[in-house]
């Protein structure tokens, strides 16, 4: 599963990376990311998650070839 992050998240993670182990849903993904970088807990808490340009909730079940986007709070305009 490919993960892509944006904006301030790039201070905590590579812009794009592959997840080593399979994670079942968004909640599990967050836990896996926190193991990668515990300092990201604050920002991850207020991020939204998306797959194929659609926001997903905590229960969303990933499939192996999903492209996952982690979306920090917007600051456009």
């Amino acid at each position: 599963m490919k993960v892509q992050v944006f904006a301030v998240l790039k201070d905590y993670f590579e812009k794009e990376f592959l997840l080593e182990d399979y994670v079942g849903n968004t909640k599990a993904l967050k836990e896996s990311l926190l193991r990668l970088n515990p300092a990201a807990s604050g920002i991850l808490e207020i991020c939204r998650f998306a797959v194929n340009d659609e926001f997903i909730d905590d229960q969303y079940q990933f499939s192996l070839n999903d492209s996952i986007f982690i979306i920090p709070p917007a600051s456009g305009g």
Partner: protein
């Protein structure tokens, strides 16, 4: 088409919702006239030289472009339906934006001014809160900081639930 309408053939605006190019506001506005629209409102969100007491040198915007563009299109359609708009246009910059330059332009045209104002505000509010676009402020002291517009989660407890002015 009466003679005078030939003097104002509809100029269709093609500016993409997300663009790295300088926003050509005059051209966008030229595309917003409509023979049944008595009120046109244009909003331009521009870069200020100060932010929370620090002097800004320039801003840089990042977007998850395909998703952002799709969401802006949906927001525009929702506004068109809700306020019976004749025309609605919105474009946001990515990349470097200088002081006094426009980062986002929203234009709405309707029969009467009330709807144009309300819809314009609705569109820019939703873009700023919901659409995956981010600004990074570069200060003259050499530091930089990712801006955080949307803090609604502190009140709603849910990053996808926002609070809009009625």
């Amino acid at each position: 088409m009466t003679a005078s309408s030939l003097s104002h053939p509809p100029v269709v605006d093609r500016t993409p919702h997300i663009t790295a190019d300088l926003l050509d506001i005059n051209k966008m506005f030229a595309g917003a006239h409509h023979r049944q629209a008595g009120g046109i409102v244009l909003f331009s969100g521009e870069v200020r030289e100060n932010s929370n007491g620090r002097t800004v040198h320039y801003l840089e915007y990042e977007a998850h472009a395909p998703m952002a563009s799709g969401m802006i299109a949906e927001i525009i359609e929702a506004a068109k339906l809700k306020w019976d708009l004749k025309i609605a246009i919105a474009s946001h910059r990515v990349g470097k934006v200088e002081i006094c330059e426009s980062a986002v332009v929203v234009i709405t045209a309707s029969v009467h001014r009330h709807e144009a104002y309300a819809a314009n505000r609705y569109i820019i509010d939703r873009i700023k809160h919901e659409v995956p676009i981010w600004k990074c402020e570069f200060f003259t002291d050499g530091t930089k900081e990712w801006g955080g517009n949307c803090n609604c989660h502190k009140i709603t407890g849910d990053p996808s639930k926002h609070i809009y002015e009625t």
